[in-house]
């Protein structure tokens, strides 16, 4: 912004300087022209009235305005003053074209005892010299006044430019801020937000409108995706459940009749797994699209983690794994208890599953002034760097884990839950093993 103001001031300065020098030059030319006319008049009088007529005219002129700025002097061939309002021939160098610049000294001038003057020497036919000039004091005063006016107008213009620039910048910043704020809200999942427009049709308005159209389109597509997944749920879950229940009935009958049941039980288990997969998929979709932040409450993170750990402890013990827990106390987080519990359960589930027997698992909550961090780390096989971005995708499974049970949705759910809570979720190398880091946003219980 300062660049523009500086540029503006420099241009204004150049413009005013041009005006000033042009004016000064014009005034000097005017003075010279007046002097030429006066000389022409006096010469005319000399031609018609001789030296007596000229002297008379000079005396008349002096009498008219004894204190005026006009200077006039008639001198003989030795440059001795004869008549005029200068008491002697000025002591000055003469330019080639007959112009003299000299200095006047007079006690009557007051404080500034010296006035600059400019005159033209003219040689009359009889050997007399005529000097006609101007006291430049008044002219210089006018020039100074013009300079002062120009400088003060420059100052005013600069201040106005600064104020205008600030106002314009502020309005620009405000509009960019509005776009930024809306974008943030949208990135936080509130797709219904739109960038405000002021209907002036300016560039910003057009940008905002284009962005809004884009958002409309995205929202429509998302709505489509949601509808598709809802339809999958509605259209496939229900018949699947019915199928499962029919199998159940068959199962009961074969128990009664003492027939083969193993095969049917297997089928029921598989139907259950499919249902679970659909349920998990729908749950992730709901978390991602519904953004149910209104059901958040303040919970003690350590207590929440302890609950999940308690649920999984027997699994850890069955594999003879070592579980180290470090839970910072009094760490309150604003979360959906159920969803966060499920996310942590999935992480712990994975840790137990992918860590060999007698391996180590660590859960740690640390809390500093700026950060609440939850770490779930294990000494298992880990996730290669190249795969880390992909494991959050639905149904994505590592080649090495395809044989183990699971539907490839566990980490997708963790990711969805983390996004919902504005948790920064990272996968790191635990050398060996996987370290899942969740950085919670610092929130103040009193402000929300």
């Amino acid at each position: 912004m300062m660049v523009y103001v500086t540029l503006f001031i420099i241009s204004a300065l150049l413009l005013l300087a041009f005006i000033f020098f042009y004016t000064v030059n014009y005034m000097a030319q005017q003075t010279d022209a007046t002097i030429e006319i006066e000389i022409a008049g006096l010469e005319e009088r000399y031609k018609t009235g001789g030296i007596t007529g000229l002297t008379q005219l000079i005396n008349e002129r002096i009498g008219q305005k004894p204190t005026g700025s006009g200077l006039i002097l008639l001198a003989d061939q030795n440059l001795s003053a004869l008549v005029g309002n200068l008491n002697r021939w000025p002591n000055a160098l003469e330019t080639s074209d007959g112009w003299l610049n000299f200095v006047l000294e007079d006690k009557d001038f007051g404080e500034e005892a010296i006035h600059r003057a400019r005159a033209r020497r003219f040689r009359l036919l009889g050997g007399f010299y005529l000097l006609v000039g101007r006291d430049l004091h008044d002219l210089e005063m006018s020039q100074r006044a013009i300079a002062k006016t120009l400088i003060s107008s420059l100052a005013v213009a600069a201040v106005l430019a600064l104020i205008g620039g600030l106002a314009m910048t502020r309005s620009l910043i405000r509009r960019i801020e509005a776009i930024n704020q809306t974008s943030n809200e949208i990135m936080n999942g509130d797709l219904s937000q739109r960038i405000p427009t002021n209907h002036t049709g300016d560039d910003f308005d057009q940008l905002s409108e284009n962005l809004n159209h884009m958002l409309d389109r995205i929202e429509m597509l998302m709505e489509g995706v949601r509808r598709v997944s809802d339809n999958i749920a509605h259209d496939l879950r229900t018949p699947l459940a019915r199928l499962r229940n029919h199998l159940d009935e068959v199962h009961k009958q074969s128990i009664k009749s003492g027939g083969e049941t193993e095969c049917i039980e297997q089928a029921v288990r598989e139907a259950d797994e499919l249902l679970n997969t659909f349920n998990a998929l729908l749950r992730i979709a709901r978390i991602e699209y519904e953004n149910r932040v209104e059901h958040f409450s303040w919970v003690d993170l350590a207590e929440l983690v302890r609950g999940v750990v308690e649920l999984y402890e027997p699994l850890v013990e069955e594999k003879n794994q070592q579980l180290d827990i470090y839970l910072a106390k009094e760490v309150k987080v604003h979360v959906d208890r159920e969803l966060l519990s499920q996310a942590i359960a999935n992480l712990l589930d994975n840790a137990v599953k992918y860590t060999p027997a007698k391996g180590q698992i660590e859960i740690r909550i640390s809390s500093t002034q700026n950060q609440i961090q939850l770490i779930v780390a294990d000494s298992g096989s880990g996730i290669p760097l190249a795969e880390r971005g992909k494991v959050f995708q639905r149904f994505y499974r590592l080649e090495s884990s395809r044989s183990s049970p699971g539907n490839g949705l566990g980490l997708s759910l963790v990711h969805a839950v983390a996004s919902l809570h504005n948790i920064d979720l990272r996968l790191e190398n635990n050398n060996p093993g996987l370290k899942v880091v969740l950085d919670f946003p610092r929130q103040d219980e009193t402000t929300s």
């Binding site: 459940a241 019915r242 029921v268 679970n276 349920n279 149910r292 649920l311």
Partner: protein, 225 residues
């Protein structure tokens, strides 16, 4: 049991009626909320299964009206809405249990049994007994055949829930909801592991097992004769 089903989807309704009839229950059906409320007020049912979204009067309003009229009949909500706050809404309205569609019939049956039993058992009881297994809820002491068993707090709560529902089938979901207060499906069946650990403590050294696995449904704690 005498059961009322208020459900507008005819397919679900006929399936429920058929299944419950086969299990030996007597079933009435209503296809809208108004009619259903009327039937619930007029008769003494052992349990009511109500859909949330119904024509004329929605499920939650039916329950509220029932409770306002001081009808204590146990109510189970069947709903396609399964998030935690949907459940909370249902429970606040006065329902006793909440089952999300689609559901396994065995799950519904187990829950109805549990609801019906809830009326019979006295929750202020401090001594629970199944066969020769006893819990003293005041001293938190568990004994079997006179021998004191060492149980962890969570195992104790699990056992307490099983004992309060002794003789009934208890599903894994019911355990997860009531003992752990979670409403999601864990990826690995952790409940089975908890049960097997509990079994290791209460059944291992004794001749007759009390904790039985019901294939395809869940578990049942009962003294066999």
């Amino acid at each position: 049991m005498r059961i009322l089903i208020i459900e507008d989807d005819s397919q679900t309704a006929s399936y429920l009626c058929k299944g419950l009839n086969e299990s030996g229950h007597s079933v009435d059906h209503s296809a809208d909320g108004q009619d259903g409320l009327f039937m619930a007020m007029e008769n003494d049912y052992d349990a009511i299964v109500v859909d949330r979204m119904l024509p004329k009067l929605d499920g939650l309003s039916v329950i509220k009206a029932l409770r306002a009229a001081n009808k204590r009949t146990p109510v189970l909500i069947l709903s396609a809405l399964g998030e935690v706050d949907d459940r909370v809404q249902g429970l606040r309205a006065g329902s006793d249990d909440y089952l999300v569609k689609p559901f396994a019939f065995s799950e519904l049956e187990a829950r109805l049994d549990a609801l019906n039993r809830r009326l019979d058992t006295d929750s202020t009881e401090t001594l629970l007994q199944v066969g020769d297994l006893q819990i003293d809820l005041l001293s938190r002491e568990v004994r079997r055949h006179g021998r004191v068993l060492d149980l962890q707090p969570r195992e104790l709560r699990l056992l307490e829930y099983l004992m309060r529902h002794a003789g009934q089938v208890v599903t894994r979901t019911m355990l997860l909801e009531n003992v752990w207060d979670y409403h999601f499906d864990p990826q690995t069946n952790v409940i089975d592991v908890h049960i097997s650990r509990l079994r290791g403590k209460i059944d291992k050294d004794f001749e007759k097992p009390l904790l039985h696995t019901i294939r395809g449904s869940g578990y049942c704690l009962r003294a066999t004769n």
